[in-house]
């Protein structure tokens, strides 16, 4: 317990320096600014803004990136409430009741409770990370390549189960993602694989390029197909601070949402996505009058928003303790850390304690900043959201180009976002979801490396994955999950959760 306190105080010592506070503030501000744009989710936002952190020292850069991430998350919720265009999967649920509230002239309260719920969830999640960080790092030390491989397999199975739509398509996307990750030079033998003899593919496909293409450009193409009917609220925004009655209705959903979100966020395989859905379903089940949901029930905003933010934060845990990015956003964080010479994993905490704890403390500060920034700026977001899409998308397009060019100074990277944008557009048209592909891509390299090592250690015996107890348990969980997800009755329930 003494460690816990001293670690946190070390962290706050780092995060509260004037420079780092400024960076957290700036990160939250630009993150919200870009995240508010409809159709720009956290992944595209981070990929776009990554270059602005290059000139900073590693701690400052990570603090700013974390700020950008929270800003983008919250910006997505703002858009969901004000326009009913959820920027990303996790704010779909917020749009249901949040936008109804906005139409009733209660947009301010919806935004207020979202910010307060998020802040509370963020506080709890910060404490969870601080408490679980050290023990989980210890766990990482007993993990060998066999266990790592099985853990990542389980993560991918999670991603399949949690993906929307057809399970077969989700599996296909995961496999395609892992396949894409094998493009480039094979680390072990030095032979080029699937490079078409092109020099810029020798190092493999850059993650930021793939993510920007599939989530940034493809999203623009998809939005262009739909004639625009953007439904920006014209009602007054109203009071921002919820009154006592609102608090009475929402404190329990906030508590439940925080718990659900934090627990799901720790899971590898993008568990955080499920948090808001689970929280919404739970609130609806518990409500005395479920019919109010979808008509502007404040519980339907408070619960999912808290779950969303708690999950967004606890998903740092697998990355910081095991070095495994559980979702695409965290994979971008890996990229950012690598650029600054930090290899994410258990050693970060021992070797760079000020960085580790500073970042954790700055998460909490980032949440506080959001509360401070967003509430007064609501009016500005409303104005921004009234800009027609025909002007917005060329701007997004140019930001994408500049952002991706600045990462490696390679014009070919810029061309590739166009290519992956087209691929992503095609995938959307064929009914595939691109998110599992990205996760497969992220974990692919690590998986191949660990598979290889595990098999060398066992002299080519596949049974090693079952003979190691931890690995066997992880694989069993994965198998059970997959079977359960394929059962017809459960599948129906799963579809219901997602269509709500």
């Amino acid at each position: 317990m003494g460690d816990f306190a001293s670690n946190l105080s070390l962290g706050f010592g780092v995060a509260l320096s004037l420079q780092n506070l400024g960076l957290a503030f700036l990160g939250c501000l630009v993150g919200s600014l870009i995240g508010v744009l409809p159709g720009v989710g956290p992944i595209a936002t981070i990929a776009m803004l990554l270059p602005i952190t290059f000139g900073l020292d590693p701690i400052g850069a990570l603090i700013m990136l974390a700020g950008i991430y929270y800003g983008a998350q919250y910006g997505g919720s703002t858009t969901a409430i004000l326009v009913n265009i959820p920027g990303e999967a996790t704010s779909v649920v917020t749009a249901l009741d949040g936008h109804q509230m906005a139409r009733q002239g209660r947009a301010g309260i919806a935004l207020g409770i979202a910010a307060i719920g998020s802040f509370f969830a963020g506080t709890v999640a910060t404490l969870v990370i601080a408490a679980l960080g050290a023990p989980l790092t210890g766990l990482a030390l007993i993990f060998g390549p066999t266990e790592y491989f099985s853990l990542m397999t389980m993560g991918l199975v999670f991603a399949v189960v949690l993906a929307r739509g057809s399970i077969l398509k989700a599996i296909a996307m995961i496999l395609v993602g892992v396949l894409l990750s094998t493009v480039g030079t094979d680390l072990e033998t030095g032979e080029e694989r699937m490079t078409f003899g092109l020099p810029f593919l020798v190092d493999g496909i850059d993650f930021a390029v793939l993510a920007m293409g599939v989530f940034g450009i493809a999203e623009i193409l998809r939005n262009l197909d739909h004639t625009e009917t953007r439904d920006v609220v014209r009602q007054a925004i109203g009071r921002l601070l919820p009154n006592r009655d609102d608090f009475r209705h929402s404190y329990k959903p906030v508590l439940r949402g925080t718990f659900i979100g934090a627990a799901l966020g720790i899971l590898p395989g993008n568990g955080a996505v499920l948090g808001p859905f689970a929280a919404y379903t739970l609130e609806k089940k518990l409500a005395k009058d479920p019919r109010r949901f979808g008509q502007g029930a404040i519980e339907g905003v408070a619960g999912p928003e808290s779950a969303n933010n708690a999950g967004a934060q606890t998903s740092f845990i697998p990355l910081l303790t095991l070095g495994i990015p559980p979702n695409a956003v965290m994979a971008l964080m890996v990229g950012a850390m690598t650029i600054h010479g930090i290899v994410p994993g258990p050693q970060v905490m021992t070797r760079n304690p000020d960085l580790f704890w500073g970042m954790i403390a700055s998460m909490w500060i980032g949440n506080l900043m959001l509360l401070v920034i967003n509430l007064p700026l609501v009016g500005m977001w409303v104005r921004l959201l009234k800009v027609p899409y025909r002007l917005m998308f060329p701007a997004i397009l140019m930001f994408c180009c500049i952002g991706i060019y600045s990462i490696n100074s390679l014009p070919t990277d810029v061309m590739f976002i166009a290519f992956f944008g087209l691929v992503g557009y095609m995938l959307i048209k064929f009914g595939f979801e691109p998110a599992p592909m990205l996760l497969g891509f992220v974990l692919g390299k690590l998986m191949e490396e660990n598979l290889r090592r595990a098999l060398i250690l066992s002299r080519g015996d596949m049974m090693t994955f079952i003979e190691h107890p931890i690995s066997a348990v992880l694989l069993a969980i994965a198998a059970i999950l997959l079977i359960v997800a394929l059962l017809p009755s459960i599948r129906k329930g799963r579809d219901e959760v997602f269509t709500e």
Binding site: G55, V178, L179, M194, P394, D461
Partner: protein
């Protein structure tokens, strides 16, 4: 290529193909699998004890192909979603805009074609204006004003404040400015000139009758569509 919109699962659908979306997806996956296997045809699979470079990619390709075949089979047996309509205009101009940015941002050579590095000052407006044509609702004058405002903003932000190594203007233009001006002075002068240009274009344009900002939807109409 637009498909008459039928409700998924319409009983009236003719022909053996029951789920065009799955058919397309299946073909795509099978194509991808064959491509990967073909590209790796000369690489060594190795053994489980010492995996060769091609082992994992080949297995994955087989997996992808199997998913593709399964989707193809479903396309003929299970009712499924219709293919959405595809537009060509959007992808064409967006890709063209991005390519224009990529080839002009710094010197680019492709065979006999050589484009001198023109920097952000040209590449930015090109991306915005060409990309902007992707929607039929575009208005050229608006796009020009947008380009002349956003480009200087990015030039100052990325080139001046953040010092990112992104080319800002063609080096040939260097001689047009007094010799004692630094790169950043030129950058600022250009940014200022562009903003002035934006104001001029705005002022010269025909006076707008009404500000048509956005299509407004009545609250009771809903936006599901």
């Amino acid at each position: 290529m637009s498909v008459p919109h039928e409700r998924p699962g319409d009983p009236g659908r003719r022909g053996p193909i029951r789920a065009p979306q799955s058919l397309g997806g299946g073909i795509f996956l099978v194509f991808l699998a064959i491509l990967a296997l073909w590209l790796n045809r000369n690489l060594d699979q190795g053994t489980l004890n010492a995996m060769g470079p091609a082992m994992l990619p080949d297995w994955l390709a087989v997996g992808v192909g199997a998913c593709g075949v399964a989707l193809l089979a479903f396309a003929f047996t299970k009712q499924g979603d219709e293919l959405d309509h595809w537009s060509l205009r959007g992808p064409f101009f967006v890709v063209l805009g991005i390519l224009a940015f990529a080839v002009t941002i710094r010197p680019f050579e492709l065979g006999a074609l050589t484009i001198p590095g023109l920097g952000l000052v040209i590449a930015g407006p090109l991306a915005i204006i060409i990309g902007g044509f992707a929607t039929p609702e575009m208005r050229l004058r608006e796009l020009i004003i947008l380009a002349l405002c956003l480009t200087p903003f990015c030039m100052v932000l990325f080139g001046d404040l953040l010092n990112l190594p992104i080319p800002i203007f063609p080096q040939a233009l260097r001689d047009l400015f007094p010799a004692d001006w630094s790169q950043k002075d030129i950058l600022r002068a250009m940014a200022a000139a562009m903003v002035v240009g934006a104001i001029v274009v705005y002022a010269l344009g025909p006076k707008k009758r009404t500000q048509q900002v956005d299509r407004v939807v009545q609250p009771d109409e809903g936006i599901d569509g």
